[in-house]
């Protein structure tokens, strides 16, 4: 056995973790190598001395200090409980801007216009099948059945002719509402930063960065005027709002957050 091998396994040997054959080989080497024998003795002496170090008793006043800190923390808990409804109201107010299907409700206005115009065409005896499909598609969108709506929807150019400008405005409103709500909640959360531990701040920042990245990606990937492509984006926004709400209410556990 070489010195380097003995050096590598010295700790394991001293802790009795080696097999009998290996231990015997190390003992054999120690008998004939003075340098390794000296290292071995030093390490053995160190371990023995460490195990004999005396336990350290804390000062008597430590217990009172602990009780005092616990008392302070519990009083703070009590005040936090009082603050919670106020905080909840602030958060709710920020979220109230968004009704989960807000943009769809607004879209009813656009749909009504489309139907009215379609009826006008019908009265005039010049209704086109694609325009009829547009009205049906929007009705289904209101019901949340976007897949069927996509199938029934007319080509984009034809749709735009009929009701796209108003729908585009509705979508723009909804986008703005969601983004403003998220910005408001993030601002409120930022005010709490001083009370977070470093670990909490790191976890939260990572989650928020993920939400932001995925939100931008989803937004870039979708069609600007397509109704159904909004579903994924708004579902993501709602998830982020829900996450922010939980964070503001102090309801997040260690592994909570986005499901991405």
């Amino acid at each position: 056995m070489r010195c380097i091998t003995v050096k590598k396994h010295s700790s394991a040997y001293l802790d009795g973790e080696l097999e009998a054959g290996q231990s015997s080989a190390i003992r054999g080497h120690l008998r004939i190598c003075e340098a390794c024998q000296q290292c071995y003795e030093e390490e053995a002496g160190l371990i023995a001395a460490a195990s004999e170090l005396q336990p350290l008793d804390p000062p008597d006043h430590l217990w009172q200090g602990i009780l005092s800190q616990i008392a302070d923390a519990e009083i703070a808990d009590s005040e936090e409980v009082d603050r919670l409804p106020v905080r909840r109201a602030i958060v709710r107010r920020a979220i109230r801007r968004i009704i989960p299907a807000n943009w769809r409700l607004h879209a009813i206005g656009a749909t009504s216009l489309a139907i009215a115009m379609a009826l006008l065409y019908a009265d005039a005896g010049s209704q086109k099948p694609s325009q009829m499909a547009a009205g049906t598609a929007d009705t289904r969108v209101e019901q949340g059945d976007t897949q069927q709506a996509a199938v029934l929807a007319p080509k984009a150019t034809e749709t735009r002719e009929l009701y796209a400008p108003q729908l585009a405005l509705t979508i723009e409103d909804a986008d703005r509402d969601y983004l403003q709500t998220i910005a408001d909640l993030r601002t409120i959360l930022e005010e709490d930063r001083s009370s977070w531990t470093n670990k909490e701040a790191r976890i939260l920042d990572a989650e928020l960065a993920t939400f932001k990245r995925i939100g931008i990606g989803t937004r870039l990937a979708m069609s600007e005027t397509s109704v159904e492509s909004r579903d994924e984006l708004y579902a993501h926004y709602q998830l982020e709002i829900s996450f922010l709400e939980s964070a503001l209410m102090g309801e997040l556990s260690g592994n909570s957050g986005s499901t991405h």
Partner: protein
């Protein structure tokens, strides 16, 4: 009505379980009693773990900050007991809190002006060691180690934890615990030899 803060948790004494001796409490029962706010149980938990926590903290952060960190550890223990699910031993969970708090404290202190972490004025061992000079050299050498090495050597060689327990406490693999200990001991020998030559 003005509120007067009290340190004593005897303000409300929930139901007692009638344990005649503190030895009758196992860790799970102790945790449950603490969660009910029973102050004797809280004090028992403190007495049961105070030396282990204080010793570990002192040897990782040094004497000057040991009291502050140990206090913080115990507050975290009591405030976090509801999160203890019994998946590991209570001692492992407590050691883990103590090691994490100590290492965090050391990493924060790095940015502060240097101070002697091993101050003679505080926390002297209970009884003199057979060779008090060796004891002192050992404690000094320990303080010269990087904090991570210090943690593993304190847990394994001083507190007598197994590598399995060290790995659970430090949140690493058993092999990592072994290799860290090997390196830590080599460094300790180096520092001890240096101090002998000086």
């Amino acid at each position: 009505m003005p509120y007067t803060k009290t340190n004593s948790l005897t303000v409300s004494e929930p139901r007692k379980h009638g344990k005649s001796s503190e030895l009758e409490f196992n860790d799970i029962e102790l945790v449950e009693a603490c969660l009910r706010g029973e102050s004797p149980a809280m004090e028992l938990l403190y007495r049961r773990y105070k030396r282990r926590v204080f010793g570990l903290v002192t040897r990782i952060v040094g004497n000057s900050d040991a009291e502050e960190v140990a206090q913080e550890v115990f507050v975290r223990i009591y405030r976090g007991l509801s999160k203890f699910r019994g998946d590991s031993q209570l001692s492992t969970w407590i050691y883990r809190l103590a090691v994490n708090a100590s290492l965090t404290h050391v990493s924060k202190r790095k940015r502060r002006p240097e101070c002697d972490p091993w101050d003679d004025q505080q926390a002297a061992p209970d009884e003199p060691m057979r060779d008090s000079a060796l004891s002192r050299r050992l404690e000094d050498a320990l303080q010269m180690l990087p904090a991570g090495y210090r943690a593993v050597i304190v847990l394994h060689d001083i507190e007598g934890q197994s590598h399995e327990q060290c790995a659970a406490i430090l949140g690493c693999r058993i092999g990592t615990s072994k290799s860290q200990l090997h390196k830590a001991r080599a460094k300790m020998r180096e520092f001890l030899n240096q101090s002998l030559r000086e």
